[in-house]
């Protein structure tokens, strides 16, 4: 039987169309990629849906480590004289502020501890920023590095009407750093 049987494939098979192969292949790949894309989109949708409704802002993060300027001043100064008296400090030089607080120390009943001196002076130093900024904005300073803080204050000094002189920039920036180092 080997080699004796008539050839069963008498008619020539039709030509294989390369175009049809490529077309079918492209369609199939397309189908797979579409499925892949759909799964990816669904996954992203699920991930986004699982995000917390309230995302934390910079202020939320900064408020984790507040400067506590208000609390320091409230605790050490406002008891004896009203906060209005502090208004005069916005035009004081750093040495003047320090001198004033030291004088307050000598007053009987003031109870200003030695170690708090730096912090109180620093708090009073930054009060002048309240001319334009609120407490939350000031608190954003805790997220910056010291060089960034210096640059920020310098920028404020360049603004007209800020009340900050260029030669005061370093002292103000250092005041922020002192408030953070506690």
């Amino acid at each position: 039987m080997l080699g004796v049987c008539p050839d069963v494939t008498t008619d020539r098979p039709s030509r294989i169309s390369g175009f049809r192969v490529v077309l079918a292949l492209v369609l199939l790949v397309n189908l797979i990629l579409t499925i892949a894309l759909i799964t990816q989109v669904r996954e992203i949708q699920q991930r986004v849906a699982r995000l917390p409704a309230d995302l934390a802002t910079k202020r939320d993060v900064a408020s984790l480590r507040p400067l506590q300027v208000r609390q320091i001043i409230q605790k050490n100064c406002v008891e004896c004289h009203s906060a209005r008296r502090l208004g005069v400090t916005v035009s004081m030089e750093p040495t003047e502020i320090r001198g004033t607080v030291e004088r307050m120390q000598t007053h009987p009943g003031a109870n200003i501890p030695e170690r708090e001196l730096e912090r109180i002076s620093a708090s009073i130093m930054v009060v002048r920023c309240a001319r334009c900024h609120d407490e939350g904005t000031l608190n954003l300073m805790v997220l910056k590095t010291q060089p960034e803080r210096i640059a920020t204050v310098r920028r404020m000094a360049a603004l007209p009407g800020s009340g900050v002189r260029p030669d005061q920039v370093t002292a103000i920036a250092q005041a922020f750093e002192k408030l953070l180092s506690q």
Partner: protein, 395 residues
């Protein structure tokens, strides 16, 4: 039985490759694995396991696949493929075992598996099943030479036990083909997400079943050209349609598995893993599927040969990806198969092809069989065994 075989040019080339493999194997035994192979502590399994063992066993699935199709599902239209398929299965498994003897650190102790009790180890099950299955294949195939030699009594015994051992063989194949996959489910943290799956046993089993008909078709076409008989294109076209279904189902399974495991982003990333994955899927599943779905391809020799070669190559790529390439290791580790590794594995494969070539010329492996066997012994023993008879009855 024609013992005289004229060795052709191809035979001599195959023998030469085998000889190179033998020489390299001697070096391996004389100098240790490290003297010929690049496998290291980060990649304990390399080309030898990926190609020489895992792919060979997957391709050996042609034996159980065609047996399942012809003997169990009763599709006797394909009976002419049965003998070559069983012989190929036998030689593939024999090759895998020979490769194992080179690959193991202490091959002289391999019998330890047979005297151990380690049911929790996938390799234990693979070892036992492969050992039993090799015996089954030998018993199944032995009918052919025994028939030629006219050893009637032995032949009668083999025919009586044929159905039970044939069933055993097909069942064992299912077990160990899937267990090779089970073995790799143990390392999800090591295999890239593109290839690890908790369904690896099924993926391994289905890809072995897919490789079967492809290899059978290829063999029929090559043997037809080499031995000079006209290939039965109608039958091949029918088998190619079945193969198209198998490829399509495996493709759906693989992609579906990828989606379910949430590993699609790994496939869309720009890594070399993703590239290898797409090459494997594209050339091993997509392109063959497209080709096999077209009737003009199924009826053409070149078309079938191309499509089936791609399927076989895809299975090889898959095994290599899962067991070697897809491994995550420490960043300073690397592995590239050495020439020695490739040489030995090719030598074993060439040896198997050479033996196949010799056997098909001295035994009636490709003979056309009569539609039904009228030999009374055959029907008494088992109707299915009729498929194994040559045109002559029992002497």
């Amino acid at each position: 039985m024609n013992w005289r075989v004229r060795l052709t040019r191809w035979d001599l080339i195959l023998l030469a490759i085998t000889a190179v493999g033998v020489v390299l194997a001697v070096v391996r035994y004389a100098g240790g694995i490290g003297s010929v192979a690049n496998i290291n502590n980060a990649y304990p399994w390399g080309w030898w396991v990926g190609f020489g063992i895992m792919t060979m066993i997957a391709l050996g699935g042609v034996g159980f696949t065609i047996t399942l199709l012809v003997e169990i599902l009763g599709r006797h239209r394909y009976h002419v493929l049965l003998r070559p398929a069983v012989l190929m299965g036998l030689l593939c498994y024999a090759s895998a075992i020979v490769m194992l003897m080179v690959e193991l650190g202490r091959p002289w102790k391999v019998w330890m598996i047979l005297v151990s009790w380690a049911p929790s180890a996938a390799l234990y099950e693979v070892g036992w099943c492969a050992f039993l299955y090799l015996n089954v294949l030998v018993l199944e195939f032995a009918q052919v030479p025994l028939e030629e030699l006219g050893w009637g009594r032995a032949l009668k015994v083999l025919r009586v036990i044929y159905i039970p051992i044939m069933l055993l063989g097909v069942t064992l194949s299912h077990l160990h083909q899937s267990s090779l996959g089970t073995l790799l489910t143990l390392i999800p943290h090591k295999i890239n997400a593109l290839w690890w799956s908790d369904q690896l046993p099924l993926i391994f089993l289905f890809s072995a079943m897919m490789a079967g008909p492809a290899l059978a078709i290829l063999e029929h076409l090559v043997a037809a050209r080499w031995l000079g008989f006209p290939p039965n294109m109608d039958m091949l076209a029918g088998l190619a349609r079945i193969e198209a279904w198998l490829v399509g189902l495996l493709l759906v399974f693989r992609i579906g598995d990828l989606v379910v495991r949430g590993a699609v982003d790994a496939a869309l990333s720009g890594t070399s893993f993703a590239a290898s994955f797409w090459v494997e899927i594209g050339f091993g599943l997509l392109l063959p599927l497209v080709l096999l779905m077209m009737p003009e391809v199924r009826e053409s020799r070149a078309g079938l040969a191309t499509a089936c070669s791609l399927v076989v190559a895809g299975v090889l790529l898959h095994r290599l990806n899962v067991a070697v390439f897809g491994l995550r290791v420490r960043h300073w580790e690397t592995y590239v198969p050495s020439l020695g590794e490739i040489g030995i594995s090719l030598g074993i494969a060439a040896g198997a092809v050479f033996v196949f070539g010799v056997l098909v010329r001295i035994l009636p492996i490709h003979e056309e069989l009569p539609p039904t066997s009228s030999a009374p012994e055959s029907r008494a023993a088992a109707p299915a065994a009729a498929a194994w008879h040559g045109a002559r009855g029992v002497s």
